[in-house]
């Protein structure tokens, strides 16, 4: 293999330069490492008990870093919007061949189970692993199964618009109510008693926000998948 021909000199020198920078940074970090770096998250984990949520990861994602989660679903919304703008057209013609009989029958059987599992992961996000993002994507993969197996199936656009608007508006509204009541954005204004930890209704606003995130992610991912599959050829 001729290295000089396959990799241009600028690429190689770029690799070398970035490697050198990373080594320098690592050296500085290792020399000035604070002593308590292993216990950096313990303060937050102590605060976790105050919210009465069994899954500590959910408390971090939805409550301590709730504003970041709002930004993340905004990023997903922008991705869905860009894909819709690039691929959308009125003439829908894609899957020419009828899909397999087995796939058609099995998808009718499997779709309710996938939907149920997605909703379970969404609602139990504050008690067990999983949550809004995962549940939403599971629901979107169920929609993908239906889109592959049934030629004429299509998620109604008005339903997606209604769900996504509802989810986005209610996320911001809950955050603003927290700002009014407790002086912090996304403050936990509902009762969250520590004795209720592990119950389905516990943790105040945290399960509600995770369900909202699940609705938003599910509708956005379904729209992305549908735009990719039902794209017409002439775009």
């Amino acid at each position: 293999m001729n290295l000089k021909r396959d990799l241009p000199t600028s690429t190689l020198s770029g690799f070398a330069l970035s490697g050198l920078l990373i080594l320098t940074l690592l050296n500085i970090l290792l020399q000035n490492m604070p002593d308590n770096i292993q216990t950096a998250g313990n303060e937050l984990l102590k605060l976790n008990a105050n919210e009465g949520v069994a899954n500590a990861v959910t408390t971090v994602v939805v409550y301590f870093r709730g504003f970041d989660t709002l930004g993340e679903i905004a990023v997903l919304f922008i991705a869905s919007l860009g894909l819709g703008l690039m691929l959308h057209s009125n003439t829908r013609c894609d899957i020419k061949a009828e899909s397999n009989f087995m796939l058609q029958t099995a998808s009718k059987l499997l779709f309710p189970i996938i939907l149920l599992f997605g909703i379970y992961v969404m609602i139990y996000g504050h008690l067990s692993p999983g949550g809004g993002f995962q549940g939403g994507v599971i629901i979107a993969s169920g929609v993908l199964l239906l889109l592959i197996s049934h030629k004429e199936f299509e998620v109604p656009h008005s339903v997606i618009v209604a769900l996504e608007t509802f989810a986005g508006v209610s996320y911001v509204l809950i955050g603003l109510i927290g700002l009014l009541v407790l002086d912090t954005f996304l403050g936990n204004f509902l009762p969250h008693d520590i004795s209720q930890m592990g119950m389905l209704i516990s943790g105040g606003i945290i399960p509600i926000i995770y369900i909202i995130v699940g609705i938003k992610v599910g509708s956005e991912m379904s729209m992305i998948v549908q735009n990719l599959i039902k794209r017409s050829d002439d775009v």
Partner: protein, 79 residues
């Protein structure tokens, strides 16, 4: 025993990832990429990160590979 499982999974991930980049056909690479995601799910679960394992199983091994496959289908049509 658990260390042996971790070692085997890790070596398997490296082998699958390397074979994914030397495939001639892109669709084979995407299927092997799903294998890399599957191995990482096992590793995440052993390292006591079930949240990350579920996310990786759903997003990394599941829907992103399917989106890659759909994009590849459209690329093949326009070529």
């Amino acid at each position: 025993m658990i260390g042996f499982i971790i070692l085997v999974t890790f070596i398997g991930i490296v082998i699958v990832a390397f074979s994914a980049i030397i495939q001639k056909r892109l669709s084979d690479s995407i299927i092997l990429f799903m294998g890399v995601g599957l191995g990482s799910v096992v590793l995440f679960f052993i390292f006591k990160a079930p949240d990350v394992a579920l996310t990786e199983a759903v997003i990394g091994a599941g829907i992103s590979s399917l989106i890659f496959l759909m994009a590849l289908k459209h690329l093949g049509e326009s070529r």
